[in-house]
Symmetry: C2
Subunit: 168 residues, 2 copies
DNA sequence: GTCTATTTGATATACTTCATAACGATTATT
DNA sequence: AATAATCGTTATGAAGTATATCAAATAGAC
């Protein structure tokens, strides 16, 4: 689940478009291009790759960005709540938070009402970074997507993705 | 890149729909739902999860299925060509082929014209398995997707995914 | 035709992501 | 008070993905 760090494979590998190969001519993709899962995965990797490129100045991964975004809208929640909402397992969420906390983007505070749990809150630096990050995403990343797809298709795509994630 | 084995996380975790949490009410997803990469990833995981479920009788992962599909349409290619087309790195392709060859679904043959390379070909069993796999994908997996999205949106989605994978 | 460089499949290895089990501390239940 | 459940955490394992390197074979330079 969730968001993962991108690799450089496609970038390095796809000097030639997928489905083409020097010797012997193009390979026939055949039914592969009609397999939604296949195109979905390749598209997703491309999108994450672009996200990382656009976000390079702030050094935020998609997963980290999603945490900051969620924390901003939902201050005072504990780790389990945030992790569950993002589909991240609690054990794996720990090191993710460690990284963000060590960069002073958020704080863990023992809850006075339940001293087992940690209340999560963005720091001022966290809020400032999130604001810059949002700007980068909007002006570089999403803007490029809209440029490729067109505004109408972009919006339709969002709706379809949400539908699949919800009803499938 | 490529196709990966699914996990059971979502299935186990999402007894409650994403964005909801028992104590304290629903969390606000906020701009998260407008982040295409986020929905794209979640949708992709759902689709792979469903693919594995539908393909359980044949025990084929999306990656393995894509190899069989590509080999059927492009017999006589070597490992590098197939791997490149699928965006798989050659070192990682070796064990993938080992698994399929040990199940007698394909064969590696030294090419007479270039004795460095292995010509890949489906066996009869491989072709038969692929035929059954295609049927499972069509009648269970894609059918369910079309049911959720509707035929028109399903087709539009395929087009958009291909566009992103190609032009992004 | 020999020498060098490149390519192919393979191995070893490392890093990241994702998953489970278990622990101490705390709270809830009985 | 005793037991069970929850929270954050640690340890650990299984995949997926990446790079470097190797022997064998071929291609290319001279």
């Amino acid at each position: 689940m969730t968001v993962s760090k991108m690799t450089s494979q496609d970038q390095a590998k796809q000097v030639a478009p997928v489905g083409f190969d020097e010797e012997g001519g193009a390979l026939q993709l055949g039914e592969l291009s009609e397999l939604l899962g296949y195109s979905l995965k390749r598209a997703q990797l491309k999108v994450f790759e672009d996200f990382l490129r656009c976000m390079a100045p702030l050094q935020l991964t998609p997963a980290q960005f999603s945490v900051l975004l969620l924390l901003d809208k939902n201050p005072g929640r504990n780790q389990t709540e945030i992790a569950n909402t993002l589909g991240i397992l609690r054990p794996n969420f720990v090191s993710l938070l460690d990284a963000l906390e060590s960069r002073d983007l958020l704080t863990r505070m023992r809850s006075p009402s339940d001293r087992r749990s940690h209340v999560l809150m963005l720091t001022d630096k966290g809020r400032a970074t999130l604001a810059r990050a949002k700007k980068l995403v909007a002006t570089r990343h999403e803007a490029r997507l809209i440029e490729v797809l067109g505004p109408a298709e972009h919006k339709a795509l969002l709706g379809m993705m949400a539908k699949i994630a919800r009803e499938f």
